[in-house]
Symmetry: D2
Subunit: 371 residues, 4 copies
């Protein structure tokens, strides 16, 4: 079935498995005339690259983005942008073992149930390498959004039980710190916690927060394509995500209306603003002009080296130990994936919002005569 395409106007289709020839994405619907080069994409891919610290797999994934279509003389042409990353890391490991049983917390069992068999090499299509196509496309979406003043601030909010303290928030250290946690104190605690996890052959989950700045009011379609609905679906399409919040999220369910309502006021330029932002920048599914705030909860890496109980394909109960090189925590590398999915969602809804008003449509075709 076809679940590998995302978006309506800014539409992407990803392909590829962990140990196939490569992974990639086709972006269809990027407006023409946007300056774009491979470096724009590589910068994003490097943010998800493993081996950046002792808290991510030492596996070397030196992923290089190749643009294969849709660019002419340094600008997008409006036709599909095909980006491929070829696998350099396909040493013929012996996967016959994981072929024979179902790893707890992985998709081995469900893929077999759905399709009758699976490409078991390194997780196949359900490998985290599938996110490379999303990140490459997200880089293009982010570049488009930059032209209308939309920017992203994405970081690790918590790892296991350790959460950053807003009072210590320091955006400058997001990309410099191996855990992408913008609070030096919390980051140190988190490192200590992860060391303990690793010693006990265990892994940790965490929470990624994304703040989207500069979103004009009016983005999002009522009812089923609400901005928050689209973001929820987009973020939840990332493997390992188990929870999603906008603004105060679950805390809003414990609050009262008087506490939770954001009062409107006019700033000194007469611009209508909100005194608070419990809503996280979205009212009725449409952006209200303030920051969009979202959070994604990631489960712990299911590949732990401790002994686990499971069943073989033919149903015998067995004990296994997942071999190989795995991330004790995925959230630092997931930061750019969350940002990419948020950027893809915004790019699509920003384009879909064009033509919301009849007079803008006639302005475009009659007055400006731009085509």
């Amino acid at each position: 079935m076809s679940g590998s395409t995302f978006g309506t106007k800014f539409k992407i289709t990803t392909w590829g498995e962990s140990h196939g020839a490569g992974v990639g994405v086709v972006i269809d619907g990027c407006p023409a005339g946007l300056p774009l080069c491979e470096e724009d994409i590589q910068r994003y891919l490097d943010r998800r690259k493993p081996g950046q610290s002792r808290f991510s797999t030492p596996r070397k994934e030196d992923d290089t983005a190749l643009i294969q279509s849709g660019i002419f003389e340094g600008r997008t042409t409006g036709t599909p942008i095909s980006i491929a990353v070829y696998n350099k890391n396909q040493r013929s490991a012996d996967y016959s073992e994981i072929a024979s049983y179902y790893r707890p917390g992985h998709a081995d069992y469900t893929f077999d149930q759905k399709y009758g068999f699976r490409d078991y090499r390194g997780g196949g299509r359900s490998s985290a390498r599938e996110t490379i196509g999303r990140v490459a496309a997200g880089a293009v979406a982010a570049k488009l959004l930059d032209t209308i003043g939309i920017h992203f601030l994405t970081y690790v909010k918590s790892i296991g039980p350790v959460t950053i303290d807003p009072a210590h928030f320091d955006a400058s250290c997001i990309e410099t710190h191996p855990l992408r946690m913008p609070d030096a104190v919390a980051a140190a605690e988190a490192q200590a916690y992860l060391d303990r996890c690793m010693q006990s052959q265990n892994s940790s989950g965490g929470v990624v927060e994304c703040i989207i700045k500069g979103v004009p009011a009016g983005i999002g379609e009522p009812v089923f394509q609400k901005l928050d609905s689209a973001l929820a679906g987009a973020i939840f399409s990332i493997g390992a995500v188990k929870g999603f919040e906008i603004g105060d999220g679950f805390a809003a369910a414990r609050a009262t209306g008087i506490e939770n309502n954001d009062a409107f006021y006019s700033d000194k330029h007469g611009q209508i603003r909100k005194k608070t932002n419990h809503a996280g920048g979205i009212l009725g599914g449409i952006s209200d002009g303030s920051d969009i705030i979202l959070r994604a909860a990631f489960k712990p890496t299911p590949s732990v080296s401790a002994v686990q109980q499971t069943v073989s394909k033919n149903g015998e109960t067995i004990s296994i130990q997942v071999k190989g090189r795995h991330d004790p925590v995925i959230v630092p590398r997931a930061v750019v994936v969350v940002e990419a999915m948020a950027a893809l969602t915004l790019a699509d809804l920003t384009l879909l919002n064009l033509g919301a008003q009849a007079d803008c449509v006639s302005d475009f075709y009659i007055t400006s005569q731009k085509k």
Copy 2:
């Protein structure tokens, strides 16, 4: 723009405003031959009806479902099922007041920003009455899912700070208790809490939990149409939802891999099962055969009768008091809306899963010759 259609194969389109002629839905893609009558739909609509207790608006909404197409001799024909509910409650209130300002926590401001003006009568398209079409369609989806053994258990998990205790869980009182909270002790506390909210002209949020039983393994499409992604988008398209979780949700982010992994085993019939269900029934975006467990966090009703500060359309800071008859808490009535969106999502993905395996396709056309 077009955000009023949901689903790919089991596809619905809703229409209508709070104070227009009515609200309704067109269901396209329901398989032929399913027995269906207006009572099947009315039963669901009655669950969202207000005025069922002192904790919901006394406003009388005696909504009656009319099936206008797609049924012949008591069965679905495979053609669109149009269901309309005409508004009986359009007394010409004077809305000129709310026309002139922006209610905090409502979509008044964002609709004006997006469309240039809005139908301000009772919230127009962003009124909770929009959910009538979803609930009517959800009743049809649930009837279809019943034929393959899929059922729903949906209830209020918490109201404000009060949460049910699993130890006291009693499913039998969900539909009998005004708050739909299956724990007599917690329900009593919640009633006391709501009474205090109402005395202080305030309102409360809450959490709805939905357990989906009997889902076969294999439902959900990898990558962007994952079952959890589709459910997240569907539930987040309900107004007032600010958070969503599958299985352990945000708690999984605080857990370790060893704690969070669900071990597989074979039951005495040789059926592969999981010892625990932290995953909430979904692995890699595909159902694993165990219960699907999801939660939705609802913000407090923004319409509080306490004095609030806001701005008028022309930007003057003003104080307002929202008049009218509002629910101090929406979650008891939202239970059936959550269930409806979950049913619509399952119905669509259950139909999309047909044809996942090539041999099933040839079986269907060659062997069975069924068409």
Copy 3:
């Protein structure tokens, strides 16, 4: 399955059967602020109304359009526009006869094969009454297109062997003449031909031509959403259409490149134009600024009163005579259906073209600050 929705941004969903409660359409994605009233729609519906001459069924279909949502203070709000036409003509005829056999040229057999049974009353969903929803929606699309200067000239080009002579073309008599044939001489011949058909209990086919004026260059998406591809799919979705052409159509297949190429030139205002229009206004799937010219071939009405051979549901060979009041030729009433589908296609692709260029997107959000 779901085939009742058409369009991406300007999206319609039709519902209803010949002898159910009614027929209707939901339009989602019409820009906000467009003046619209029921008369705008009724004007179109009246053009497809039967009983306008002795060449259409005397059956009285006094169809009245009711707008049920999406309009406030005389303008579209950007939310779904639901339009219903309730059936006034449901005298309980005895359909048990056609329930028992398959009418040649009708969809009775294929619906039974696909769905297992069918609503046999008057053709059910495959009745020509299904086009009412298209025509109502087409009226709205045409009103939107009018604001950007796009207009339609649609008429009967031929009936059976009789074709209009371009030398005698007189647009003024399209809506005044019962056959909507803009050539008095050909129209007279066609009437004589139809009289002979009726005397021999027979029926006739014909061709409808539609000229779309004022389409700006640049409409249509390369590859699979080409303007000609979208028009072909849209027109071929009308029952009874068996052929479709753009520009010279099949004649182009017999021409040479030198004959068929349209030379470009600059007019006195420096505007680039084409000396001829063999292409019918589309190059590479994108409008070139000249008239769009299309033709649709309609098969003869399959309901003839002459004796025909067919089979009963259980396979016995039988002779039948289709009773009831049928059009000896459908094309005069199909003119407005072709125009409606062309308008719906143009409305959708005109909105989809917004944002084709990155600088227009930033202009919209940054410069104009329009939302």
Copy 4:
């Protein structure tokens, strides 16, 4: 904008330009377990390869298909199948000339109008090389359809004024004859006609006919996804197509109902059949079990070497002579493109038809327990 994706369940996305790195396609939604290898695809690509006779460009396009994902141990896995063909023929020709003016009959002008600029090298995205992705995907669709007994017979019906005579029809010579015309006499005339065209620096159009055998009754969705509507849109998305017919097509418009109706009868196995097939195998948009017959009219190759008049980008009237190596007639190479688009349409609608009946859905999930 996004027009490069085709299909709903069997969904393809093509990418690439004439002189970029390559062209390709991503197929999403192919059922799992279908045996597939690169030879299956190469066989189709070789049928569109130029240089097979003196009537096609001598340009060497030695296109080799590479499967980059979606196959494991020789079978499809149900995940996206990415197929790429890298360009070997990118000698840096000087295109500055065609960059400066608009070729008659080409998309140069319309691409500039839509996107503001274009990749002018060899036609960029509007080059015939774009069809490589369609043909590669069509090969996969055909392999899937073969498993349910659907096969294609596609050939050239006419070239310029020369049409095959059904009495001389000889399917065996379709792939052996350079013009793919299954009538030796007509083929000889056509060759003589093409020689005259080439001598006068001219080109010819033609008609391709496709007969689809073994289509079960019931394929196609009523109203907007009718089988004939889907085929019309698919075939008209091929560049240079100007006309499309099903069954008798435009001839049906000249016929009477008595002539055009196909009488039903029961064959000796009690199977319901039609005595004739004027309908071309489709009634009410749904396949009736007889052969599907369609025709596509192709305009003459616009690239003729004769002197033509046109305008430069800045509007000066100029005379040009299109250089390079062009096909005097495209239809022999277009045969496989028409077949590929027909196969993609059938594959999609054949999968969409699954679940048309509620009892088949419960059979699938309950009885067979197949997933």
